[in-house]
């Protein structure tokens, strides 16, 4: 290939290339072979289909919400319906999409391969986790079908326990089950990382993708059970009237907040950390350079996981926690922002002196960097005690976490899907169309959520079905942006489906990346490796790759 070409894409000759004969996809046939599979790659595909399904359901709710907010009056739907819409949007997006998105799809698919293992430690638990996901998903959908739930995804007591007659218990049961799905994924990852690494794969030779999943898994295992017990108590409070969260019986509603956020704050790190792992891989590959300060990036993941457990009460600054406590939690919140800053700069400097190309995953990664920086910095606004008073519970919050979750996580997810698509399916996605989708998503996203920052500072409260007319201009902008964003998300669905049949044959290593997953055939065989690799180089060692490629050429030639 010529040194001056603007792409690193290296595809086999399309006239002669074919997909490998035996792959994990065609190893066994029939629906049952998929439903009872223990293969982590197949489970990843099952998850990918499932979360896409739920993403578009959640997205449909988002669309309806934005449509309602087009006009200041509540004219599209009744306020109860609207409340159910945003509750469902939140529950589906958080528990059924964001938490499992990268770990359960890309993580499941890649983790064993990256470590040089044949499978995750507990394949059956992995499958069980997918079934629990569906069970939870169906229960949540059941709550929707039966008439919906309007607590918001936070299940705030005493509203959820005493003042609503919607299907709170059903929804809580769904989330409870989903929690166990997430616990089993995390548990599997931790055991796999500890016990299943290939010979020579030391901790500091692992790709950063694995490190970030490790950090996220710790949070899943230790945080999620607290949510489970909290939701159990909410359900009991509703069914039996036990009074732990009921002030008239001597309970403390703030106890619910403490327990709920003890999980739900680390949960945002569960959501974003795997995305950060994807970004590390993508930026390194398209800069042809190892990640700047590998150790710092690895440890900052762990630091985020650790500090993540100490900051939950920043969701409760105005809720009547003691001032002393607020001080401590605010300070710790400032500390947890630092590792994220480190990561951002390390990613930027990874590009320094690299040899950069601009394929779709890289464009998504650029989008991630910009949006995550805004999302992260606005988090500092909210961590600052005095500022939080004005900003919390307004659209500023909404914009902030959508910047981190959608701008950060979803961008990373799409970057990862495009990046590993050739590995998962053996075929390339159409490049120009996907670049268009990346740009559309970026523009649409900013148009949707930047106005919400302004709305928030102006004071528009979140979860409002109707709002004072002076906020309309910005809301119209936001809704317009949401339309563009919707198109941006539909595009990949269409062209990725198209590419399954018509995409160019990708070959083993289209990106000439260094990861172990790129050294095997695509799509991989069921056992991943013909023989277990012996790892003798660090992650992102492009000189090793060059050497290896040169050798192969000589052998073949």
């Amino acid at each position: 290939m010529s040194a001056t070409s603007s792409t690193i894409l290296n595809l086999p000759d399309q006239r002669t290339a074919t997909l490998p004969k035996r792959t994990y996809i065609n190893n066994e046939d029939g629906l049952l072979s998929w439903l009872f599979t223990g293969d982590h790659k197949r489970i990843a595909i099952l998850y990918l289909i499932s979360i896409t399904f739920f993403f578009f359901i959640g997205g449909a709710f988002a669309g309806l919400i934005r449509l309602e907010l087009l006009t200041p009056q509540g004219d599209l739907m009744a306020s109860d319906t609207y409340n159910k819409m945003f509750s469902m949007h939140g529950i589906i997006m958080v528990f059924l999409f964001l938490v499992p998105s990268v770990p359960a799809t890309l993580g499941n698919f890649l983790m064993p391969i990256m470590l040089g293992a044949k499978d995750l430690a507990f394949p059956k638990i992995n499958l069980l986790s997918w079934y629990l996901y569906w069970l939870g998903g169906i229960v949540v959908l059941g709550a929707l079908v039966l008439g919906g739930v309007d607590t918001g995804w936070t299940f705030t007591t005493p509203l959820s326990t005493h003042y609503l007659n919607t299907h709170v218990v059903t929804a809580a049961t769904g989330v409870f089950i989903l929690g166990f799905s997430s616990i089993f994924t995390g548990l599997n990852f931790i055991v796999t990382i500890h016990r299943m690494r290939a010979p020579g794969m030391t901790w500091f030779r692992m790709p950063l993708f694995v490190w970030s999943h490790y950090a996220a898994s710790i949070l899943m295992v230790l945080g999620t059970p607290v949510l489970a017990i909290t939701l159990t108590l909410v359900a009991l409070e509703r069914l039996v009237g036990i009074g732990v969260f009921d002030p008239t019986k001597g309970g403390d509603p703030l106890l619910f907040q403490h327990l709920f956020w003890f999980y739900s704050h680390p949960a945002v790190y569960i959501m974003i950390l795997p995305g950060m792992g994807v970004i590390s891989e993508v930026i390194s590959t398209f800069s042809r350079k190892r990640v700047f300060g590998y150790t710092a990036v690895a440890f900052s993941s762990v630091a985020i996981a650790l500090f993540g457990f100490f900051v939950w009460a920043h969701h409760m600054f105005i809720m009547g926690v003691s001032n002393y406590s607020a001080l401590v939690f605010s300070l710790l919140t400032m500390l947890v922002a630092v590792p994220s800053a480190i990561k951002t700069f390390n990613w930027a400097f990874t590009m320094q002196k690299g040899s950069i190309t601009f394929e779709t995953p890289m464009l998504y990664a650029f989008g991630f960097l910009g949006l995550f920086t805004i999302g992260g910095m606005t988090g500092v606004f909210l961590g600052a005690l005095g500022m939080d008073i004005h900003l919390t519970e307004t659209y500023f919050i909404v914009a902030h976490f959508h910047f981190v979750m959608v701008g950060g996580m979803l961008m990373a997810f799409l970057a990862g899907i495009h990046f590993w698509w050739p590995k998962m399916t053996g075929r390339m996605y159409p490049e120009s169309l996907s670049k268009l989708a990346a740009v559309t998503t970026f523009i649409g996203f900013n148009l949707t959520f930047l106005p919400q920052f302004i709305l928030g500072y102006l004071g528009m409260p979140r979860r409002y079905h109707a709002y004072p007319p002076e906020f309309q201009v910005l809301n119209v902008l936001s809704t317009a942006g949401a339309t563009v964003l919707g198109v941006g998300y539909m595009l990949p669905l269409l062209y990725l489906a198209w590419s399954l049949k018509y995409g160019a044959i990708a070959g083993n290593n289209p990106w000439q990346a260094t990861g172990l997953e790129w050294q095997i055939q695509s799509p991989p065989i069921t056992e991943n490796f013909i023989e277990i690799p012996i790892v003798d180089h660090e992650a992102y060692d492009y000189e090793w790759l060059e050497h290896k490629t040169a050798q192969e050429v000589t052998t073949v030639g």
């Binding site: 230790l222 403490h258 457990f309 939950w312 003691s322 001032n323 406590s325 277990i532």
Partner: protein, 111 residues
């Protein structure tokens, strides 16, 4: 089944040999636990003031640690398992102390 024997899993610090605890050890542990149960009931009937819950919890912790170390074999397990157990209790303590930091300091007034 690969014939290849993975050296990193045997020489690495996360590995420990399979140790079989004898019934004698179990018997001693069993007796100790019963004795501690007796002590904790007896101590509850003495008025030790603030020390009552402290003693009760101290005995419960001791019993718990004995069970974890011997019945659950953690004494003979790798550092990894020891660390795992410790991290569980650490996170539990984080939950308790950080939440209590709110409840305790609420009584200190509003500056």
């Amino acid at each position: 089944m690969s014939e290849y024997h993975d050296p990193s899993n045997v020489v690495n610090p996360e590995h420990a040999d399979h140790h079989i605890v004898t019934p004698v050890t179990y018997g001693i542990v069993f007796a100790t636990l019963l004795i501690f149960t007796g002590i904790t009931v007896a101590a509850a009937f003495k008025n030790l003031g603030i020390l009552n819950p402290v003693v009760a919890l101290a005995i419960a912790c001791t019993k718990g640690v004995i069970v974890i170390l011997f019945f659950m074999h953690v004494k003979y397990q790798s550092k990894l398992v020891k660390l795992t157990v410790a991290s569980g209790f650490f996170t539990f303590l984080v939950l308790i102390t950080m939440t209590l930091s709110d409840y305790v300091s609420r009584a200190w007034g509003l500056w």
